[in-house]
């Protein structure tokens, strides 16, 4: 995901702002990492450049 995308994303659980934790990136985008909610601390994975913003219970169930 491009870093700029962060502006329009929020925590799906509490609508809090997210901060980015980068594990791997290239010139264009973040490839691996986490989006972490400033408010409730829930972590959302970024894998292969795709952020997964499903609430944890949905992410694990599906």
């Amino acid at each position: 995901m491009r870093k700029k995308l962060l502006d329009i994303l929020a925590c799906p659980v509490c609508k809090g702002d997210l901060k980015l934790e980068v594990k791997e990136e290239n010139e264009e985008e973040v490839l691996e990492g986490f989006l972490i909610c400033d408010n409730c601390n829930e972590k959302y994975p970024i894998e292969e450049g795709i952020p997964n913003l499903l609430p944890p219970e949905l992410r694990d169930k599906l």
Partner: protein, 192 residues
């Protein structure tokens, strides 16, 4: 041999899990093509394999594809789309001038439900409109002033959906229709 195995794995991983573009996808694409403007900030909810979004890319200022299904999101990503895995608008806080959705609109019987990914793409919930109604509720907060929603609907539950659209304070018009063997599909342009 290794490549072949990889290919098979990919094949098996994908085909049964992601909704293949069909008449409803084509109808959404046709309506979106007529509606889209260069200055639009666009989101497609439930983009599936990216059939609609990939053709809209470059025709607007910004385009985000979303799907609840991570397998679908991967295909969108490979097509060069900006994509996030999300359940409708949960996790999205931006505003958009054009919102697109080809929703699941079938009402499945209990015994038809098997709980796989594909089911998410076709099961519209109670009356076949539950997902569409929830989408419209959430879209209110995400629609820029003067923005437009294009939503696909079917003759099977159009009457009930119409009532809900009005109840939520939207106005709508049917901008495209397609007759199939057993139903008629509509592309609705919905505004506040």
């Amino acid at each position: 041999m290794k490549d072949q195995k990889k290919f098979h794995q990919k094949f098996l991983q994908r085909l049964p899990t992601v909704y293949e573009a069909a008449e409803d996808s084509e109808l959404l694409l046709e309506a979106a093509m007529e509606e889209i403007r260069k200055e639009d900030v666009v989101i497609e909810i439930g983009a599936g394999s990216g059939f609609v979004s990939e053709k809209l890319k470059g025709k607007c200022r910004f385009l985000l594809a979303t799907d609840i299904n991570p397998h679908a999101a991967k295909i969108c990503k490979e097509k060069g789309l900006e994509v996030v895995v999300a359940d409708l608008f949960r996790g999205i806080k931006g505003k958009f001038t054009l919102i697109l959705f080809n929703p699941p609109y079938l009402e499945l019987e209990e015994e038809e439900k098997i709980g796989d990914w594909l089911e998410k793409a076709i099961d519209g919930g109670k009356g076949g409109i539950e997902v569409s109604v929830e989408f419209l509720k959430q879209a209110k907060e995400r629609l820029e002033k003067g923005g437009r929603i294009i939503l696909i609907s079917t003759s099977h539950n159009f009457e009930r959906l119409k009532e809900e659209i009005k109840r939520l304070g939207y106005k709508f018009e049917v901008v495209k229709k397609r007759k199939l063997f057993f139903e008629e599909l509509y592309a609705l342009k919905i505004q506040i």
